[in-house]
Symmetry: D3
Subunit: 226 residues, 6 copies
C-alpha cells in the first residue's frame, strides 16, 4: 500500500559506470533491448528541444497542484540523480520552475521527469536542465499536503522504484530497473551493432524484405502482387 | 523488471468475507478511507449504466491490439475474481466482448477492469457482466504476442498486485491492497458512519461551515464578507 | 481584477416568474433566442441522464483541487438558486458529492454547474439533484486556499454574473443575463411558435428547401443538380 | 477530386432484402465478417442510449459550422435511407436537431451518421430517431457555403460511397460497400453460427485455450506456467 | 449581455511606460504577482519558438470559422496593441495568416492572442510576428457573420476587457487589468527581487526546506524520515 | 471494398515537372487554390521543425501496431515518391524510425506521411528526412498481419489515391489528385500573385476592409460603430 508522509533517505543506486554506459543509448533502443517494457506514455515530452537525461531515479509522490515534496526531494539528491515525480491523481499544475531547477542542480540533480506541468521553460532551456513533462503551465503549486519521497511510484504509466534508471530523449522516457542496467547496456549494444549492419545494407539499397527474410512469410500469409 | 511470457498460477487472495464486506462501500468512500490513494484515472468508465464490481484481481498484461492473454487468464479464475487487464502501451482496441464475458463468468469471474477497449456492450449490459474500460471499440484484437498473467501491473495509473481487491462503480475504480482489505472495510465503515451524522445535520439545514467548524480558519485566512 | 477572498452576500436576482417561464425552454432554444451567445463549452455534461436545471446563479470561484468555497457558497443560497462553480485554473478533482448536494438542497439550492469534477453520481441521480460538470472523479478536494463567492466568474468559457440565470439540459448549459430574462423568454416563445409551424410542415413532407425558401439562394451560389 | 456544389440525384441502392437481412447483425460482427475494414473512428457515439440504425447511405459533404446541405440532402431521401454527413474539416457545431429529424423521417430517412455535432438529443430520443455523432452541442449552424450531396465522402475515417450500407449500434458504426451487402450478410451469418457454438462451449466452462486450440502455439512462443 | 455587431472605436489604454515596464517580466512571474489569477488555459501555445508579446488588448469576438472581424479590428489598432480574438464557440479554423499579420503590423499591432487556429506559421516566424493560438490549421475562414470589436471577451478561459494588457511567452498567456498594470509591475519587480535572493542561496546549495523554513510545518503534518 | 493482402506494383504518377512546380507552394496556399478540399486533419504534425515534403504518394494500409507493410512499400518506391501510410484503425505505435528512413531514401523516397506514430525523431532531423505524423512514440511495431500497398487509403481524414501528390509543411498536409496537379499549380500561382498585390497594399497600411471592399457588406449586415 502506497505510503504517504514518508521519506526514505537511503536508497540503492546502480553502478555509476553502468549508468554512464547506458547514457549512450536512446530511449527507443533501450525500450527494444528490454523486450518492449518500461516505456512511459507518449504524452511525456521534453520541455525544450534537445533535452536529454539519464540517471538513477529519486522519486517524489506529489499531491495534485502541490509541490511541497519537490523541496523535500531536493535534500535526497546525490550527483547524477534524476527526480521522477508522480502525482496521486492527474494534475497539470506548474509544479516546477527555474528555482527548483537551480536547487536540484546545486544538489547534484541532472534532470526531472514529472507526470504533471512545469514552467519557466525558457529558463530551463537556457540552463540546459533537461525536463520531461506532461504539460507546460504557468500556474504555480501550493504547499499544504504531504506526499512521499523515495517510495515506488507510477509515473506516466510506468512503475519507478528509487534507483531505477530513467532515460529520456526526443522519443520518450523509458525506465530500466536498477539491477538490470548492465544487461540492458549489453542488449542495447548488441541491438545497435545489429542495426548498424542492417542500416548499411538498407543504405546500399537492399530491401528489408530481403535483409529480414520476410518474403516467404508474407507469401505464406497470402500477400498478392498485382 | 516486468516479465513477459509467464503465468503465475498460484496467487493469494484476501479473505472472502472481507471482500464481501468491502463490496458494500463505493469507490469514493473507499478511496477516502485509504487516504486518497489507489484510484485509477477517471477515464475508466463503466461499459453500461449501473455496472458495479468488487473482487480480487487476477491480472493480465496484454500487448497492444492483442488479446491472447485474455484466454490465458480465463483459466486462472476462481469464484468471485475480477480480471484486471493492463497493456504494455496504450491501446484502445476491442480486447473483450460477449464471448470472453461468457467464458469468464463460466469460470467464476465477476467482472473486468481493462485499460483498453471493449465491444458487444449491449450484450454485456444484457448479461449484467460489469466492465470498466477506457474505450468502446468494435475493432477486434489479434492473438500473436505473449504478455503475462498474474504479475503486478499498472492499470490506468494504479498498481495492481494479483489478489488486490478492485472496486468499480459510477465514480471510478479503486484498488485495495490485499492485506489491507479488513482495515479499509473498517475505515470505510467509520467514514460512512461519520458522514451519516453529517448528512443528517446538513439535511436539517445546518451549514458545513458550522458542522466542520470552518469559520475561524476562513477568517484567519482573511475571508471577507461584503 | 478578479478578487480573491471575498464573499458578496447581497446579490440581485431576476424576477422569479421570469425564471419559472424560462424553465420551459431548452438550452438550444434559449441559445438561439439570444442570438447564439452565452453557451458554455460542450464538455459540460449532465452527471446523470435526464438532469435539468434552471435558476439564478450564485457563484463560487474555487482553487484547483480545493472545494472550501463550496461550503461558503452554501450559506448564500436562497430558494431556487443554482450554484455556478468556476476554478482559477483547470482542475477535474471531485469538488462535489452527495453531502454538499444535501446541504445545497436544504438551503434552497436546485442544482450545480461546475467547471470541474464531481462524485457520488449514483447518489445524485437517486436524489435527482441536477449537476452539470466537466468530469466525474472519485478523487476528493482539500480545504486550504481561499477563492471567492458571488463575484463574476468564467465557467466553461461563459461569463456568469451572480443573478444571471443558468439553464442546463441534455444539450448543454446556457447563461441568460439577469436583466434580459423576460425578453429571452419572449424570444424563446416566439422561436418555439415559429418552429412549431415549421415542424408541422416538415412532418407533412414539405422540404426545408421550400419552407425556408432556400432554392434561389442555392442556385445563385451555383449549386448544380446532376 | 472532391466536387463542391453538386447534388447527384440518382444513386444506386443495394437490394432492400439484403439491407433488411444485414440489420440483424451488430457492427462488431459485421466488421469482423468483412475482414476488419470499414469501421468508423470510435469517437462516433449514439446520441441516446439504444440508438441503432441500418440503411443505404445518402451522403452530404458539409462545410464547418454550416448545415445548408442538410436541407438539400433531405430531398434526396427515399424510404429506409440513412444520411451520412461528413465535413470538409473538423467541426463540432450542432448541425442537426429535431426539426431536421422530423423532415428526414417524413421523407423516409431512418437515421443519421454525422462527423460533427447534434442537438435536441432529448427530442431525438423521444422520437427514437437514431443518430450517431461526434459531439452534442447546442450551438447551431449557418447556411452560407455550398457543400455537396451524394458524392463519396470520408466520415470519421471511413470512406462512404452513396448507396453503401451503414450500420450503427452501441459498439460503433461500420460501412458495407453496396455490392458486397449480400456476401457480408452471409459472412455475418456464418460468424454468428460459429460464435453460437463457441459461446455454448464457453458457457459450459470450456476454455478458449481449448476451444480455439491455442495451447500449442502459446507453448511454442515460450509461455511458461509457474 | 454580449453584444454582436458592434465596434467600439474609443477604448482606454494603460500608460505606455507601465506596459513597457511590464514587458520585462514573464507570464509566470506576473501570474504569481497578481495572486494567481488572469491566466489563460495552457492549451494556448506560441505559433513558433521564441514568440513573446506584451501590449494592450484590442479585442475581437469572432464567429466559428469566420474571420471577418479580424479585418474590422485591424482598423482599431494603434501602436503597440495586441489583438485578442475570442470566438462565440470553440473553433480551430485557421482564422489568421501572413496577410493579416502584415496588416496588423502596418497598423501598429505587435501580436495576436487567439482562441482558435492560425496558419502560415513559417511566415509568422520569419516576420517574427508573435502569435499565441489554440491550433495550427491550414484551413481558412469565411466572411459571413458579424461578431464584435472591442467588447469584453472570454479568451481561453480568461476575461479580457479592451485595454487590459496581455503578456505571452513560452509559459502561457496572462491578462493584466488595465488599471492594475502599475501595481502588477511593482509586485512583479518585488517578486523577482525576492526570487533573485532565493536563487542565489539555492544555487549555493542551500535547500528550499531551509530557505523557506518548511521543516517545522512538514514535521507538524507528520512527515517521517526513515 | 478495401482489399487486404494486395500490392499494386504499377501505379500512375503525375508529371514530374508539375510536381516540381507544386513544391514551390505551401499547404495553405494549395488548399485554398483547390477550393478548400483535400486537407488532412490538423493533428498531423512535422516530426521535426522545418520538415517539408512534396511528392507522389505510394500508399500503405497498415494494421494497428504492425509495420510489416512498411517494408513491402519500400520496394515500390521510385525517385521522388512520398509514402502515405494509413491504418485500418487508430494506432499511435512507432511504425517508423531511422532504419526505414534509410531504406526509403535509398530507394528514392523523399518523405513519409503517416496516420500513426514514429520514433528516432532526432535521427530523422539529422538525416533531414521529412515526416508528418500523428504521434511520436518509442514503442515499436510487430510484423504479423497483412495490410496492402498502393490501394486508395484514408489518411488523417483525407482520401489518397496512389499517385496523388501530398504536400506537407508547418501548416499541415494537403492532397492533390494526380490529374489536377497542373491546374492546382496554376491556381496556386494565381493565388500567390493576387496575395502579393494584397500584401503590398496591406503592408503600406491599407486596410482589408478597403482592399477587399468589405465595408458595404458589413454595413448591410448591420455592423455599428460606437
Amino acid at each position: 500500500m502506497t505510503e504517504l508522509g514518508v521519506v526514505y533517505t537511503d536508497i540503492q543506486r546502480p553502478d555509476a559506470d553502468d549508468v554512464a554506459a547506458l547514457s549512450h543509448y536512446g530511449s527507443a533502443t533501450i525500450h527494444e533491448a528490454m523486450g518492449r517494457i518500461g516505456l512511459m506514455q507518449p504524452y511525456m515530452r521534453p520541455a525544450y528541444d534537445g533535452a536529454k537525461l539519464c540517471g538513477p531515479a529519486v522519486t517524489a509522490l506529489l499531491q495534485p497542484g502541490d509541490n511541497w515534496m519537490m523541496h523535500v526531494v531536493a535534500e535526497q539528491l546525490t550527483d547524477g540523480d534524476v527526480v521522477v515525480a508522480a502525482c496521486t491523481t492527474n494534475s497539470d499544475a506548474g509544479f516546477f520552475g527555474d528555482l527548483l531547477a537551480t536547487s536540484f542542480r546545486a544538489r547534484g540533480g541532472v534532470g526531472l521527469v514529472i507526470d504533471g506541468g512545469v514552467r519557466d521553460t525558457a529558463d530551463l532551456a537556457d540552463m540546459d536542465f533537461p525536463v520531461f513533462a506532461k504539460a507546460i503551465h504557468a500556474r504555480g503549486a501550493v504547499k499544504e499536503t504531504l506526499g512521499s519521497v523515495n517510495i515506488p511510484v507510477t509515473c506516466a504509466g510506468a512503475v519507478v522504484i528509487p534507483g531505477d534508471v530513467v532515460v529520456g530523449d526526443a522519443d520518450g522516457v523509458v525506465v530500466v530497473p536498477r539491477d538490470t542496467v548492465a544487461e540492458v547496456v549489453e542488449a542495447s549494444k548488441a541491438r545497435e551493432a545489429k542495426e548498424a549492419g542492417v542500416r548499411e545494407r538498407l543504405a546500399a539499397g537492399e530491401l528489408g524484405l530481403d535483409v529480414y527474410g520476410m518474403r516467404e512469410k508474407l507469401a505464406a500469409k497470402g500477400l498478392q502482387y498485382r
